[in-house]
């Protein structure tokens, strides 16, 4: 009895403060729960149903997931997502490292200007980026073909976005253009936290610029590198706006990606249950990958 009363007293003591705290977080949690969390749970539920969005959903067990393994278009889409990864990760990160090296180890005049300019594409709407690059690749009078013609390289000109082998790299290049400023800003902020003594020590050991970069800078921005890696891999797996505006998956299925295929299933061919299964798969891939990469990154 005594312990019970004591317990109640303790509970009441904290409860009064809890009560206020819940008032503060309630609006956020409520909106989040209704508009984000509940739809996520529903997606998982619907992935085991067959549903056209109008009639009663029919429970079909794992059939949607079995179909995932046989869906040629989905496989092509996932392969394309994979092919997009270098354009989101390796290329922009390499450029970003290079620019970081140029901008940080010498007192570059106009440092702020260069940094701000390289970051500019990052703030643009992907739709606008798509529109601009679609025009750059325009077969008849796009800037790229015009430049090639001007340089006397007529036989290099082609309808870039309609070309079976060049469409994906062409869209990928636009993604690279958007991405490297982001990684660079991340890396520069990392470099600014590196202890200057490390560089001095390296210099005393006779290390040249390149060795300093390799032995001091790179290890110093390890965390930033892994964050850049994870976020850009996720961006490559989620690519949607850019493809929607530039190619919509064409030519053939050469630039079809997972989220576009999901969108088509859900809203154009009304296979809502199957689209939910794709969503579950995509989400799982992203969550597992980011977990593995981030825990791997922090382990070292």
């Amino acid at each position: 009895m005594i312990t019970l009363a004591k317990g109640r007293k303790i509970l009441r003591g904290t409860a009064s403060q809890s009560w206020v705290a819940y008032l503060y977080i309630f609006p956020s949690i409520a909106i989040y729960a209704y508009f984000i969390l509940w739809p996520i749970i529903q997606t998982i539920r619907l992935s085991v149903f067959d549903w056209d969005g109008l009639t009663e959903p029919v429970f079909i067990g794992m059939k949607n997931f079995i179909e995932l393994t046989q869906d040629q278009i989905l496989h092509q889409a996932l392969l394309n997502n994979l092919l997009f990864i270098p354009f989101f990760t390796i290329f922009p990160i390499a450029i970003a490292l290079f620019l970081t090296a140029l901008l940080t180890r010498k007192k570059v005049k106009g440092f702020n200007f260069f940094r701000a300019a390289f970051f500019l594409p990052q703030v643009m709407a992907m739709v606008a980026v798509g529109i601009v690059w679609r025009w750059i690749y325009n077969p008849t009078f796009g800037p790229l073909n015009q430049t090639l013609t001007f340089l006397g390289l007529e036989n290099w000109t082609r309808p870039w976005l309609g070309d079976f082998s060049f469409a994906l790299p062409a869209v990928g290049l636009a993604a690279t253009w958007v991405q490297y400023g982001f990684s660079m800003v991340l890396f520069i902020s990392g470099v600014q936290h590196i202890d200057e003594n490390l560089y001095d020590a390296a210099k005393i050991d006779g290390a040249n610029e390149f060795h300093q970069f390799w032995n001091v800078t790179l290890p110093g921005i390890r965390n930033e590198l892994s964050v850049a890696m994870v976020t850009s891999i996720i961006a490559a797996l989620r690519i949607f706006d850019l493809v929607y505006v530039t190619t919509r998956g064409s030519p053939g299925m050469k630039t079809m990606v997972a989220s576009l295929w999901l969108y088509r299933n859900a809203f154009q061919i009304n296979r809502v249950g199957y689209a939910s299964a794709i969503a579950v798969l995509l989400t799982l891939i992203i969550l597992v990958l980011s977990y593995v990469l981030l825990s791997e990154g922090s382990k070292r």
């Binding site: 909106i31 260069f114 009078f141």
Partner: protein
């Protein structure tokens, strides 16, 4: 200013002394300028195109317009209904930014400064919202909102966007509020301030820079959002700028100057905001990267 001059003079004398150094500096700036061109030329040719007419486009993309035509902007604004898209984007963005910032400040404050039973669990649940991609809930969000008649309304664009924003916002504001020393709070409590007074009068002014960074991020995410608008909105009068631009491009694909003017109208507000809040942008987007 003086120290700049001194370093400059030092640099010049060093350059004069050593031609090898000169080579290094020339290569350095050469490479930087090359990348600068790669970065800004899409913007420049897009703006140039927006001022030309269709025949001039084919003559040379890097050439300045013979006559700077504002007609494309006028046409895009009136005929292609960019004025209406702009209004929708502004209504949605302002609602999302103001409400999300307020709600995030409230919840971030509670998470940072109060003890309550479910604190840890609720915070983890919110973090989940930062990690799952939009694609994982967009399908059922649509059907759920259709059932209660919120599709094809501003609410359908605003409320889900707030739901996404407060996940990052709570996380961001919790970090900001945690940095304030506890003495300040205790002193205010002694003076008999209520918890809301403490938040409003004592804490909030101290975290204002963090709030501003967060608000800028919310604005960019909302302004640039495409998928949510694509799924939710069917009436033309509710279309936001990115949605309007994407669908408009399908219709006027051949009118490059007009689409270029459209792309400029979509990007300009963000670019102006970016040039004003550069540092906040960079800090915010790179920290906010955890969200994406």
């Amino acid at each position: 200013m003086n120290s700049h001059k001194i370093t400059l003079i030092r640099q010049i004398s060093r350059l004069q002394r050593n031609t090898r150094n000169l080579h290094i500096w020339l290569t350095l700036y050469g490479v930087l300028i090359l990348f600068l061109l790669f970065t800004v030329s899409p913007f420049i040719i897009n703006i140039l195109a927006a001022f030309k007419n269709n025949t001039e486009i084919s003559k040379g993309v890097f050439r300045l317009p013979e006559e700077w035509l504002w007609t494309n902007f006028v046409k895009a604004w009136m005929q292609a209904r960019f004025s209406s898209y702009f209004r929708s984007s502004t209504i949605v963005a302002i609602s999302v930014v103001s409400v999300s910032s307020l709600l995030s400040a409230l919840s971030g404050y509670a998470f940072a400064r109060m003890k309550f039973h479910l604190s840890r669990y609720l915070f983890i649940v919110l973090l989940l919202g930062m990690m799952v991609p939009q694609e994982s809930y967009i399908i059922n969000l649509y059907y759920q909102l259709r059932k209660i008649g919120l599709t094809d309304t501003y609410w359908g664009l605003i409320l889900p966007q707030i739901g996404m924003s407060v996940c990052f916002g709570s996380f961001w504001m919790r970090a900001a509020f945690s940095e304030i020393p506890g003495d300040l709070e205790d002193a205010a409590k002694m003076d008999g301030c209520s918890s809301f007074d403490i938040l409003w009068r004592v804490m909030l002014p101290l975290v204002l820079p963090a709030v501003l960074t967060m608000a800028v991020l919310f604005f960019v995410w909302t302004w640039n959002d495409f998928l949510l608008a694509l799924v939710m909105v069917t009436s033309e009068s509710l279309r936001t700028l990115p949605l309007g631009l994407a669908l408009f491009q399908g219709r006027y694909a051949r009118d490059i100057p007009l689409t270029s003017a459209g792309a400029t109208i979509v990007s300009l507000p963000i670019i102006i905001l970016y040039l004003t809040f550069q540092r906040k942008f960079m800090r915010g987007v790179t920290t906010g990267a955890v969200k994406e």
